[in-house]
């Protein structure tokens, strides 16, 4: 077992644990913290995949900006403590739906692993994950999704501005 793999295992364990912690945490704030931990772990995974740019961006954007905003909102609303009893009446369909989705996801994952296991390289190859290459890829191969996301985000932003504006 190579040191890289050992590291991967540990980090992966941390990432999974953090994700579970986020899910089961009763406190919104703790959930956010678990999420941040998860992001950090994922960033390390990127590093292991020789994609330092992505790792840094992951930390910078998700952990450094988005989660700070989350925390800000949580603290501002004082919503860090979740209600002890879920409001059963409000979202009665939520739990079954979640179970169904989870089952679908697991099935999907198992299917992918079972069918395309060989397609995934055992060890990350030296691919160019530098900013230049990512930029080119985004604007060439994935132009449409990129633009769609841009429009969606723009719409969300305009929506937020409109919603918060005083009448």
């Amino acid at each position: 077992m190579s040191p890289d793999f050992l590291l991967f295992l540990i980090i992966a364990l941390v990432a999974v644990a953090a994700a579970l912690g986020m899910l089961f945490s009763r406190s919104a704030l703790y959930a956010a913290l678990f999420l941040i931990t998860n992001f950090g772990a994922v960033a390390v995974l990127y590093l292991l995949l020789n994609a330092p740019f992505l790792a840094v961006v992951q930390v910078s954007v998700y952990a450094g900006a988005i989660m700070v905003l989350f925390l800000f909102v949580i603290m501002l609303l004082g919503a860090e403590r979740l209600g002890r009893e879920p409001e059963a009446a409000a979202m009665r369909w939520q739990r079954p739906l979640a179970i169904v989705l989870a089952v679908v996801l697991i099935v999907q994952a198992v299917y992918v692993f079972a069918t395309r296991a060989s397609a995934v390289p055992a060890v990350a190859q030296a691919i160019d994950a530098g900013p230049l290459n990512i930029g080119k890829t985004l604007i060439n191969s994935y132009l449409l999704p990129f633009e769609v996301i841009a429009i969606v985000l723009l719409a969300a932003m305009i929506g937020a501005v409109v919603l918060t504006r005083d009448k």
Partner: protein, 333 residues
């Protein structure tokens, strides 16, 4: 040398320098600001008050450790640690001198971005401290900190982006190297003055130093997020602030003041350390000077300034820089 051992030695070295720097930075600040205010400043502990930081440290160590009632104990204790680690980690990528030996992680190609990432994470200490203390002042301090840092990080990013564009690299070593055409005009401060100014301002905001110290505005918030902290926990916050100050100064030097560059560096690489140190110290003194001069911003003005002035100006600067580079204007290629 074993690379791990080497990294360890360097880390310890940086740690020692950073902590000593922190300690004496407090002395420098007090001394300098008192002179700016026609006072003498600390002069009782040791000659020129040089032992004052030691005395302060001893005092803080012996203070009773207090946990507020109904605090979230785990987070409350973690927050100072979370605050101080990013400050120290910052130094990993900064080239202190011409020799690779003077750098912990030499030549990481995303050095500038790493810096941005670390700075972005550094704010968690404040936020968590503010929240966990179960104190309204602390919470407000934490809120202010999060809002302020997010707002100003954008400006900071744009300023760094300009620099990266100029150097065509996110590696700090490359940036320093880029600024060495042999004369002082190679310093980016002359070619990117707007970026330099934006960086300087946003750096102060990132550090939550005067005039942007709303996070701990004592007239309004007692001590902001640190209200409930005392003793060594308080010292850790203090440390993170001053270490970050040094780190920020180092970054400014690296980005805009040519880094460690200076005459006879090639002949005597050690000189590069000295130059770097002098430049950093100069930056630090300017920070103190600013603190002595400017009053604190009002909170809404602070936010407005960040979003309505620095961000547009930064964006324009990026666009102009890009245009200049594309146009191949001399000095921008």
């Amino acid at each position: 040398m074993n690379p791990i051992l080497e990294a360890l030695v360097k880390s310890v070295g940086i740690l020692v320098v950073a902590l000593a720097g922190f300690a004496y930075m407090t002395w420098v600040e007090r001394k300098f600001i008192s002179r700016l205010q026609a006072r003498i400043g600390p002069n009782r502990a040791g000659p020129f008050g040089l032992l004052q930081p030691v005395a302060d440290g001893i005092k803080l160590i012996f203070k009773e450790s207090i946990t507020p009632a109904n605090a979230d104990v785990l987070v409350y204790f973690l927050a100072p640690v979370v605050a101080v680690i990013p400050a120290l980690v910052l130094f990993a990528v900064i080239p202190f001198g011409s020799d690779p030996a003077f750098q912990l992680a030499s030549n990481i190609n995303v050095g500038a971005l790493y810096v941005m990432a670390v700075l972005g994470v550094g704010i968690y200490g404040m936020i968590l401290a503010g929240w966990s203390s179960n104190n309204k002042y602390a919470l407000l301090g934490g809120l202010r900190a999060s809002a302020q840092v997010i707002s100003y990080e954008l400006g900071l990013g744009l300023a760094v982006l300009s620099v990266i564009m100029m150097a065509s690299s996110a590696s700090l070593n490359d940036i320093v190297a880029y600024q060495q055409p042999g004369n002082i005009l190679g310093w980016l401060i002359f070619r990117q003055p707007v970026a330099a100014v934006i960086f300087a301002i946003t750096a102060l905001a990132e550090l939550a130093r005067a005039p942007f110290d709303l996070v701990e505005a004592e007239q309004e918030l007692t001590a902001g997020f640190m209200t409930e902290y005392g003793g060594m926990k308080f010292a850790l916050f203090y440390m993170s602030e001053y270490v970050k100050m040094i780190g920020m100064s180092a970054l400014f030097v690296t980005f805009f003041l040519g880094g460690w560059s200076g005459p006879f560096v090639n002949e005597a690489p050690v000189l590069s350390l000295v130059y770097f140190a002098i430049k950093v110290l100069a930056c630090l003194l300017v920070m103190v000077w600013v603190r002595a001069t400017l009053p604190r911003f009002r909170y809404d003005k602070l936010m407005g300034f960040g979003w309505k002035v620095l961000l547009p100006v930064g964006l324009v600067n990026v666009v102009v820089t890009a245009l200049l580079i594309v146009a191949g204007v001399p000095g921008y290629k």
